[in-house]
């Protein structure tokens, strides 16, 4: 499964906010790097960039990939900086560039043209997949704006709205690349909760019907793993009903442990329920990642998730 997912040149990750997309992206990037693929993990205006999880200092440039460990790069794109880079590359002469970026006409235009930042970002992402950067794989943690896959829909809208000119042409090239299944793929991240699953399935539908990008996998994050077997589950419920007390260990009451166990069991049941629902709704490969109980998510946890991806 992982081979297939990482064999593309460009992989988008999408999912409802709060499902842990950026962590999944970092874990996938780690897997790719271990397979010797020169990888770039792209984030967009991430408040807590994934580079820190990969054990490196995040690069300070909003437009240049930064090598956080050998063969693994990260970049946290800023739309305004990407736009400015475009102007720079179009004009060449630095003196003009600065003047233009400050000119009211440019500023007004930039403020009024909707979709332009998204288009520029996607253009930049496509550029990262070219030979010039020599990345084998570019993983994009697509922004979850709550407006579905709107980010990936912009190029199609732009190619209709801008019939001629280099930006219109660029939009059409981006649409073609997004639809090139040999090159580009999408993985949807969800967690075992109603809204995240419903939205995840909607993303798959939109990917197919509106963007034309090839969906490759569903990653179900924060799954509760089986802990108790059926007999133990019954015992836990009996002990709860009988209101049994006492101490299991220092600072651990039986009652507290039983209540925690019941919560775990119910959440585990929900995990199984949503997993089944996803499997029924889509034939795509489904990968489960465990819910980790730690005070702060760090590099060690990331490695654990990467191992689980490897095993899938």
């Amino acid at each position: 499964m992982l081979d297939r997912l990482l064999s593309r040149r460009l992989l988008f990750l999408s999912g409802k906010g709060g499902v842990g997309k950026s962590v999944v992206g970092a874990a996938l990037a780690l897997c790719a790097q271990r397979r010797g693929r020169r990888t770039c993990l792209v984030e967009i205006e991430a408040p807590l960039p994934a580079a820190r999880l990969l054990g490196g200092q995040p690069g300070s440039s909003p437009i240049e990939p930064f090598e956080v460990r050998p063969g693994l790069f990260t970049i946290n794109l800023e739309p305004t900086a990407v736009m400015e880079e475009y102007v720079r590359r179009t004009l060449h002469v630095e003196l003009f560039v600065r003047k233009i970026l400050q000119s009211p006409i440019y500023q007004r235009f930039y403020a009024a043209a909707p979709g332009l930042p998204e288009l520029m970002l996607l253009g930049k992402i496509m550029d990262l997949t070219t030979e010039r950067h020599a990345f084998d794989l570019v993983i994009v943690d697509a922004p979850s704006t709550g407006h579905g896959l709107s980010f990936l829909k912009v190029p199609a809208a732009a190619s209709t709205a801008i019939p001629i000119g280099p930006v219109g042409n660029a939009a059409r090239r981006i649409v073609a690349q997004l639809q090139d299944a040999a090159r580009t793929g999408l993985a949807v991240v969800a967690i075992p909760e109603e809204m995240a699953v419903v939205e995840g399935l909607e993303f798959l539908e939109q990917a197919r019907d509106e963007v034309g990008i090839s969906a490759e996998a569903v990653i179900l994050n924060q799954c509760h793993e089986p802990v108790f077997d059926t007999r133990e589950e019954a015992q836990v419920l009996d002990l709860l009903a009988a209101e049994r007390g006492g101490r299991l260990a220092r600072g651990v009451t039986l009652r507290g442990a039983l209540v925690a166990a019941r919560r775990q069991m119910r959440r585990r049941k929900l995990t199984r329920f949503y997993e089944t629902r996803l499997r029924k709704a889509t034939s795509l490969p489904l990968v489960r990642l465990p819910r980790l109980f730690v005070e702060q998510f760090g590099e060690a946890e990331l490695r654990r998730l990467a191992q689980r991806l490897e095993a899938a």
Partner: protein
């Protein structure tokens, strides 16, 4: 009632008396569910409450146990879940494109202007992406709904933007844009004849124009300019209503409910949002933290001797206790910081053991919110002291 119950009491009072509640927060924190649960509680209090979500996906419908909702308010059947409800609960979801179309139909000066807007390529492709139109249209709709006689209370679930503040800024931004030279620039028929007819005074200006032209082509610029021209007759209406919404949101009959999850990133966002509300002098009602993991050590021990347990089961029990406690303690630390920084005692709502997808679940969730506890004072004083 101890003073620590105040936040829940304030929320209850708002459900009883206010006319508008805006529910804000980051995505994925249970905002939509919270908004719907509050509407149901308000109906139980005898009011006619409408919950409105601006969401192209079927989220609200899902949590109400419905397959779909439209942009027409629909009354829900509360008989089964709340036969005691003296009020009514309504729900609707806002579709941006339909709302924008309806605005054009209503405010365009004549049929020709209307057709010109609809036919504009730019409008077709981009109206949904127009300067935060989701957020703006939400405020526009809010104004309309608050004037609707059928409802005593309108609860608005704001769009899950990355920067949750976009919603608040939308009316301001629109007014600024409408008054700006940007718009006037596009309103002058520079592009009318398919070429730049204006004489741009400076060389830089000419160069910038050439750049924009070479990037996007004249056709696009024409469409854009035509689009703004076609909308021109609607601008006064836009400006007028945007200002009204701004004023309405500041009234004491309105209020903001902030929803967050216990994760660090969402707490940061909530703090930021709270500060902005204070800065803009918006009436604040409550801060709700959803999906908390209760600390198992807080379960009262019924006492008695420990029953004989299988060794393996005992080990597993100890392990789940430890896992849950690790999460609970990490979350509690973040919450103490949140309260110390904002001065608002958050309502602590534990993670539900079941998912909510019907009115029954919503009722329970609402009761849980209104009965939620706050942080123990002892702990806060210690932290506040340590910080000072």
């Amino acid at each position: 009632m101890s003073p620590r119950r105040e936040p829940a009491a304030a929320l209850l009072e708002a459900l009883r008396e206010r006319k508008v509640l805006v529910v804000g927060g980051a995505g994925g924190v249970g905002k939509t569910t919270t908004a719907a649960a509050l509407a149901l509680q308000s109906a139980l209090l005898g009011r006619r409450a409408l919950v409105c979500t601006i969401d192209p996906s079927r989220r609200l419908a899902t949590s109400l146990g419905l397959t779909r909702l439209s942009d027409r308010p629909r009354a829900l059947d509360l008989k089964k879940v709340a036969p005691d409800a003296a009020g009514e609960m309504w729900a609707m979801t806002l579709d941006t494109k339909t709302t924008f179309d309806a605005l054009v139909v209503r405010y365009a000066k004549d049929a020709e202007a209307r057709e010109r807007i609809f036919a504009n390529r730019f409008y077709q492709g981009f109206s949904a992406a127009l300067y935060g139109s989701h957020e703006y249209l939400a405020t526009e709709k809010l104004l309309e709904l608050t004037q609707d006689e059928r409802f005593d209370l309108v609860i608005l679930d704001t769009p899950p933007t990355r920067h949750a503040l976009d919603f608040l800024d939308a009316p301001d931004r629109l007014i600024r844009f409408l008054d700006s030279s940007t718009l006037r620039f596009f309103l002058r028929p520079y592009f009318a004849a398919g070429r730049i007819t204006v004489r741009i005074a400076t060389r830089t200006g000419a160069l910038a124009m050439k750049l924009v032209d070479s990037m996007l082509g004249m056709q696009f610029l024409q469409d854009l300019s035509e689009f703004f021209l076609a909308l021109e007759s609607m601008y006064d209406g836009f400006r007028d209503r945007a200002a009204k919404v701004q004023a309405m949101l500041k009234e004491p009959s309105s209020g903001f409910v902030l929803v967050t999850g216990p994760a660090r990133a969402t707490l940061d966002e909530a703090r930021f949002f709270h500060d902005r509300l204070a800065e803009k002098q918006m009436p604040f009602v409550a801060l709700i933290v959803n999906r908390l993991h209760p600390d198992p050590a807080h379960e009262p021990d019924p006492g008695g001797p420990l029953p004989r347990l299988d060794e393996e089961l005992a080990a597993k029990l100890a392990a789940v206790h430890r896992d849950m406690q690790t999460l609970a303690r990490a979350e509690a630390k973040g919450l103490v910081r949140l309260e110390v920084d904002t001065g608002q005692p958050p309502l602590l709502v534990p993670e539900l053991e079941q998912d909510i997808h019907d009115l029954r679940g919503l009722r329970e969730a609402g009761e849980l919110i209104l009965g939620a506890r706050t942080l123990p004072r002892r702990r806060l004083r210690r932290t506040a002291g340590a910080r000072a």
